[in-house]
Symmetry: C2
Subunit: 309 residues, 2 copies
Amino acid sequence: MSLDRLLVKIAETQNPTVAGLDPKLSYVPEYIKAEAFEKYGVNLKGAAKALYKFNKGLIDALCDIVPAIKPQCAYYEMYGYQGVKTLYKTMEYARKKGMFVITDGKRNDIGTTMEAYAAGHLGTVAVEDEEFTPFGGDALTVNGYLGTDGIAPLIEICDRHDKGIFVLCKTSNPSSGELQDRLIDGKPVYEIMGEMCEHWGKDLLGQYGYSGVGAVVGATYPEQLKELREKLPHTFFLVPGYGAQGGGAKDVAGAFDQNGLGAIVNSSRGIMCAYQKEGCDEHDYAQAARREALRMKQDIMQHVGTIRL
Amino acid sequence: MSLDRLLVKIAETQNPTVAGLDPKLSYVPEYIKAEAFEKYGVNLKGAAKALYKFNKGLIDALCDIVPAIKPQCAYYEMYGYQGVKTLYKTMEYARKKGMFVITDGKRNDIGTTMEAYAAGHLGTVAVEDEEFTPFGGDALTVNGYLGTDGIAPLIEICDRHDKGIFVLCKTSNPSSGELQDRLIDGKPVYEIMGEMCEHWGKDLLGQYGYSGVGAVVGATYPEQLKELREKLPHTFFLVPGYGAQGGGAKDVAGAFDQNGLGAIVNSSRGIMCAYQKEGCDEHDYAQAARREALRMKQDIMQHVGTIRL
């Protein structure tokens, strides 16, 4: 179990960013929606098919320059099981194109239930004597509020399939401090959660010094990001909050180590809606996303230098 | 927004319990699996169809004596989007039979993303000018680690559709104390989360004194359950951990108020696998579940007395 496959992709592309695929229908170009609605109807199925077509175009335009996608489950569940089918197909297509897939589900539960989530999202599931891959993500975001026995089943399955997890530590939203900044024995909750990540990952180190247990730390809290980078040397960070949420390249600089490793920065709306911001022809949405992804890469890399494995 | 529809169902049935529908394939009678595999193949679709048939039988046998079901998302996601379709159909069928549906997803995220979860699980979603109901749950379990702006979008949608939520406070698993029992200014984290539930629900009181913001508190921690009942007078409890996880009727007694209200106790494996425990013919699985549900009701009601609205 490790996140090494992700680290290798980051070094290959010299790009420590991930494209968040959180598609709302309002982000999708009219011509794609019109085609899907004509073929499948103005309903959840039609919407889900439009989202898939939109995602596919984005993946085609990004797969050689961006190492990973991060689909957010909520935006697929919003369109019912039809939307969840689009989640599966999007993940399958991205993997086929060589991208690393981080499923952003922030799942959490007791041990036996986490076994089911782990098998479904990262592992395989047996039906009679055959094994099937329900979603096939490479990593899953999780919430550690339930403690070790909500995490242990993930570790076992990640170990078997060479997958990883990212545990929420300091989230990017304005109210994250209500619980996460409160002090327990003089330490903020987010730091305690970070220490648990180090502890959970201690026997799962990959080749490049980082374990299979990563942490989510928001770009909107640059001081905490820098502080946690120093305190959690084996924990790789998934950093949301860049762009639309307000975090800039300077804010995420502290997330990286001296080799330019240590973090991957997410942008969702910035990339997906680049064509709307540019005001270009909607048929050009995928190339606009590529332009924005390259701009973001350059923006962040000026603070990172060269990425060396 | 409130949980009043649930409270009315509990009083009508004089039964403060909920059937957890967390179906593993190994719980499903062979005759149901054989039929599904023959018709749909030995694959995720066949498995999902078998689970649906199993659930349908349980709902038919329970709907006049048990007020609610609580499907656990993990056990459906485990079978991919095909499994998620079974989740939807199970929920639809239970609602048609008059049951209250609590979706156990423990969802959590930043505000904009929680809007998507709220719309998908509890509300409606627009496709062009038409509104659709992606899942149609009556309540959703959520994790409050992200603070108020991860909860606020739910409250807005719950208000519009008369739905409710249950926020994790003290979970039933052995390691729940690793974070939840730690002290912040002399108060355990679970109590702080409980106080946040009271705060979030303060303007959302229903007719019977309880708000639309409930809390999850495990049967496996009877002292904390009693303590929280006293400290959180407007917060209705969803209580997992009875039966297979080790909690008994005496352990949950403290969750109820003087009117026999205040909590609903979940049993999953105990009900679903009653036929295996009884050793009866597998064709009798649904009636065995009914017998166990009645036994559980009686077991808990001896500590509750009459339920009065």
